[in-house]
């Protein structure tokens, strides 16, 4: 196996470790409107959007497992939720190839809401003995708002880290060419290249 083929997996492993450690050691200890930001679903979502559904789901599984391991939670719960986040972010990229700059923001909000509500559903299925407050919904909404604000910088940081290791995507290369006025088939040759030289008969 060559170094080139290992570049992306190695970067994703380092990213997952870094994200979970930073989340638990610093971000989770900062209270914003009574709740804390959670960077981990944003990182998984960003990887899905940038690298596709396979990398997204694997990143979701690994990050979720790491979170469950380090916080001594029921293994597999967070993994299940993050697999879905990574997979559907990746599918969005593969099916729609969204180019709008605010897509990570919308996906960040959706991912956080899915993680919060999904965790509630799984906990109810596993059985909760304690009374559940309606404030749970309020906390989820606040967490979604906070994470939405953070999704763009997180996406930018993840893109900066893993973009050099991504395989070249022909669709993106083609789109780059269109937007820079290089190879669009809609443009007439004369408008780009000037007058065509006439050949003598």
């Amino acid at each position: 196996m060559s170094y080139e083929s290992l570049r992306l997996p190695l970067r994703l492993i380092a990213l997952a470790l870094f994200a979970v450690v930073i989340q638990e050691a610093a971000v989770s200890q900062i209270s914003i409107f009574g709740t804390s930001a959670d960077l981990t679903p944003l990182v998984v979502m960003s990887v899905g959007l940038l690298a596709g559904s396979v990398s997204g789901s694997l990143m979701g599984f690994g990050t979720g497992l790491l979170v469950d391991m380090m916080l001594v939670q029921t293994l597999g719960v967070t993994s299940l939720l993050y697999i879905a986040i990574g997979y559907w972010s990746g599918r969005l990229r593969e099916l729609r190839d969204p180019s709008h700059g605010l897509v990570p923001m919308a996906m960040g909000a959706a991912s956080t809401a899915f993680a919060g509500l999904g965790m509630a559903v799984i906990q109810f299925l596993l059985g909760v003995d304690s009374p559940v407050s309606f404030l749970l919904l309020q906390q989820i909404v606040v967490a979604v708002l906070v994470n939405t604000l953070l999704s763009l910088p997180v996406y930018a940081a993840v893109r900066r880290l893993i973009q050099p290791a991504l395989p070249d995507d022909p669709r993106r290369r083609r789109r780059r060419a269109y937007t820079t006025g290089g190879l669009s088939p809609l443009q007439r040759p004369s408008s780009r290249l000037g007058r065509m030289p006439r050949t003598s008969r």
Partner: protein
């Protein structure tokens, strides 16, 4: 080529979902000494030095963020605290009189009076990791079995009960807070008849607990303190020592008459714990509530 990619994608998805479900099922049915739990504790042990280092390195950023949130919070608390000071000054005078009377009666009855926090051999620890989710309320502290910490040791912070040790490793421990949905504490209201009940968290509201199974005609009032019971019945003992403060009754209303429960606010700020004390010999004191 395309169908190969689709097959690969579906296979990866099915594999990771299947592994997650197997882990979830296996972990849920296992005891605390099972292989999966041991692996989990091993991972905690491996990562604890990294987390401790990261926690110390990132403390300036946390302090800056906490400064702003504390400033906003402090403004809203000024009026409330002034009212509390006025009330507490009146209560202090009564408490001092009661203390003198208590000392005299204790001497007369020759009761063992070694149930202060100091007699439970507290070990001070710093919080290095907090759990951000709404469902799991745990913190990781930098003291473990090498410092004398044991499984299920009670943990106090800000002078009140905050939780119990749920995982112990040589250098770190995981503390499950009283707001975690798996926790329940036998508690007593410091009213005239000492009504007891079971204190459980209100999931989704980290600043609220619910004291259940009280008698419906109990004379519980807002502002009364809730403490641990610390019962002893034959060979069975409560995990917690008696009379450790837990919180204050904040709401009674119709809930007491209808359901036998009242709302309690924890005395400690559980979302901003920086340092805690682990009571390593919780059964050192012999003064306990006796179950008839």
């Amino acid at each position: 080529m395309h169908s190969k990619q689709v097959r690969r994608r579906r296979a990866v998805l099915a594999a990771v979902v299947a592994v997650s479900l197997i882990l979830l099922t296996a972990y849920f049915g296992e005891s605390a000494s099972s292989p999966l739990h041991s692996v989990q504790r091993g991972i905690v042990q491996v990562f604890s030095p990294i987390q401790e280092g990261a926690s110390q390195a990132l403390s300036p950023f946390r302090d800056i963020a906490s400064f702003f949130s504390d400033t906003f919070k402090a403004k809203s608390e000024v009026k409330q605290l002034r009212n509390e000071v006025a009330t507490l000054q009146g209560e202090l005078a009564n408490a001092q009189a009661a203390k003198i009377q208590n000392i005299q009666l204790t001497n007369q009855l020759k009761l063992d009076n070694t149930n202060s926090i100091a007699s439970y051999r507290p070990v001070a620890a710093h919080v290095i990791v907090r759990d951000p989710t709404l469902w799991y309320a745990t913190v990781e502290v930098d003291k473990g079995s090498a410092d004398g910490v044991h499984l299920n040791d009670p943990v106090t912070g800000d002078g009140a009960l905050v939780g119990q040790v749920s995982v112990v490793d040589p250098n770190v421990s995981i503390v499950t807070l009283i707001t975690d949905h798996t926790m329940a504490v036998a508690a007593q209201v410091q009213d005239t008849s000492g009504d007891t009940g079971l204190l459980v968290p209100a999931v989704g509201n980290p600043s609220q607990l619910v004291l259940q199974y009280l008698q419906r005609n109990a004379q519980v009032q807002v502002g009364q303190q809730v403490v641990t019971v610390g019962f002893k019945f034959g060979q069975y003992q409560d995990l917690y020592p008696p009379r450790i403060p837990i919180g204050t009754v904040t709401s009674v209303g119709n809930d007491l008459a209808n359901n036998g429960q009242v709302q309690v606010a924890p005395a400690a700020d559980l979302r901003h714990l920086d340092a805690v004390q682990i009571l390593t010999t919780p059964h050192a004191g012999s003064l306990r509530a006796q179950v008839p």
